[in-house]
Symmetry: C3
Subunit: 265 residues, 3 copies
């Protein structure tokens, strides 16, 4: 019970049916469109928060159109990993799997965020996710291999990006410039187990959730180049207002506005 | 003992008398103006830090005029929740109660920060606070109801605020704009269990403590409209230099200066 | 085993020989230039991350010239404390000791970061470090005393700094201004158990790792005045790309570039 956090309970009870868990196991949730009354710890401290959780978050935000529950789970996971919020992570790894995010995709989200949120954040996420994978009997055969054939590179775009970064920072931090090319854009981003559009969704969500405003323009543009619609980006902001707090989203809004306005169509 | 952190020990021993705790319980603290020698873990790692804690933090900062111990507890709690620092939180929830912050106010602080620091931060605070409330036998009758008659709205000011945000971001993130009005300014901010001035104190403290510089001007002005004096705001900055680190405060200083200078009187 | 995190395992297995730990103890690591095959938890979730850890981080970044393993440990510790990432901290306190960082220096790093990262961050680091010190039988005789003869002050430079801050913020937050002089620059920075250059290394690393861009110019200049070379600063950025994430480093790059360009030679 202890592991099944207050947020988990409220979420499970509003959008899922909790099947009886075996002793000591994390309850498995199935999205069946059924609602049972919320209960748990929130009400013992903040009855208003419990009501907001049900009325505004789970019965409202999570069900808004323009961003699927699957994508909302990806956004939520990215935010939790970027903010190193392990307490809520176990529930949301389970929920992501229930929403159709594949184990291989979760594996790649963590690997991706090792570079975009910091190594330690990924390590904490590994620890939580390993527990969930073990409980759900998700084995190595469902994970992407350490090395596999990469997606094709847009050589022209990458050459242009690398030249710009080399010109700006080649003399300041040649190591950073080199790893950015070799490890990130010529390797990590091309790993096939997570679609480019989803890598962008993860990256943009992590940047907004951790207040990295200066890095949003490049990656929001890249996300839209990778197929994210303006409506989806807008809903990412709405979703993250709840999961990363209003201030992070209000600091991202002027930047998002500027990106939207400069794009054709 | 393990739960009673190093900071807790030093703080308790310098500004409080520790009454003998029952087995396994958090020691109850009472502010009695008595000082007993600090002890505990800090000295086993950093004797200098132990000395700074006593000489500079507990015997000095916490006793400065212009901001009451009660308000300093509110500021500290807001900073810990905004930074998701659960390790120190239990001690400071207890200290806040000892300083006269009501259980209903702590409940509302957590609910408020769900929106201003992120949902997961509030959930972590719920878990810690539930333990303290249980130990101190604080029950539902001391908590604000989920719904109650709201404080009167300043319709003119809110209409103006909403129009500006709609104009700026209505096309970028209509969901954010809508929830900002419906959930935040026409609901959360009007809940009567936490005074508007205290909501502002919590919001400004959380913004400074988490480096959300761009959001400080609006909320510092609102805080002063809600009755926070310049001297109090100045002491919030001083207090947070210790609890959120010098860099967060130095990044807030130019913004605070600009707000102060633009206000009449 | 549980305490010996995934990152710890991978790191230990690539750059260290693990000596058989006593039951329930943290394995002691010795840097012996030997490599044994990685194992542990990472591969059960993210085989690609395990490979990146070995190929790119431990066999590559940690061995780059221009910044010693000792300095990289100081940078890593500062980043972990600044980001309050306690899960990885125990391993890195041990590794830092193995890399020649003295217990007295770790003690001072924590004390220093109480002021530059926030009090709670230091308290969490105290808890982790106390465990390591106990296991390694590091006692009070290896720690710096709470008070000792301070290093000589550059009175002219400090007077100039204090005058500028007083002029800028004396009317906004006199408390902050006073503590900045009395506690930080006329006391903390002059404690002899951590060299000024190392205090600067710690401060700059913490600022970059926590996204405090606005505070970087002053402290990066001070670091170079204190003897940090441009090549070392460049490697701090490269190292932190991995430990604090690419976005924090890319936000620091324009500032570092500007500092480098404005300095003679």
């Amino acid at each position: 019970m202890k592991r099944f956090s207050a947020l988990g309970l409220a979420l499970a009870t509003t959008i899922s049916l909790i099947t009886a868990p075996a002793q000591g196991q994390q309850p498995q949730t199935k999205q069946v469109g059924k609602t049972i009354a919320p209960r748990g710890d929130i009400g013992a401290v903040a009855p208003a928060l419990e009501k907001y959780a049900q009325d505004r978050l789970f019965e409202d935000v999570w069900k808004r159109p323009d961003l699927s529950a699957r994508d909302r789970s990806v956004v939520t996971l990215a935010a939790l990993i970027a903010r190193n919020q392990t307490a809520e992570m176990k529930y949301h790894v389970n929920l992501a799997l229930d929403h159709g995010v594949k184990p291989a995709e979760i594996s790649e989200i963590i690997t991706h965020l090792a570079f975009y949120s910091g190594w330690g954040n990924a390590m904490s996420a590994v620890n939580v996710t390993k527990e969930v994978f073990t409980q759900r009997k998700i084995g190595a055969n469902q994970l992407p291999p350490a090395s596999e054939k990469l997606l094709p590179l847009d050589e022209a775009a990458e050459t242009q990006r690398a030249a710009r970064v080399e010109q700006d920072y080649g003399a300041v931090a040649p190591g950073v410039v080199q790893y950015t090319s070799d490890v990130l854009f010529r390797d990590l981003w091309l790993r096939p187990a997570l679609a480019s559009r989803d890598r962008s969704l993860v990256t943009v969500s992590a940047l907004i959730a951790s207040g990295q405003v200066a890095q949003i323009p490049y990656h929001l543009n890249k996300a839209m180049d990778n197929g994210m619609t303006k409506a989806q980006a807008s809903e990412v902001l709405t979703h993250l207002a709840f999961y990363a707090g209003w201030p992070n989203v209000f600091s991202a809004l002027p930047v998002a506005k500027s990106v939207f306005e400069k794009r054709p169509g």
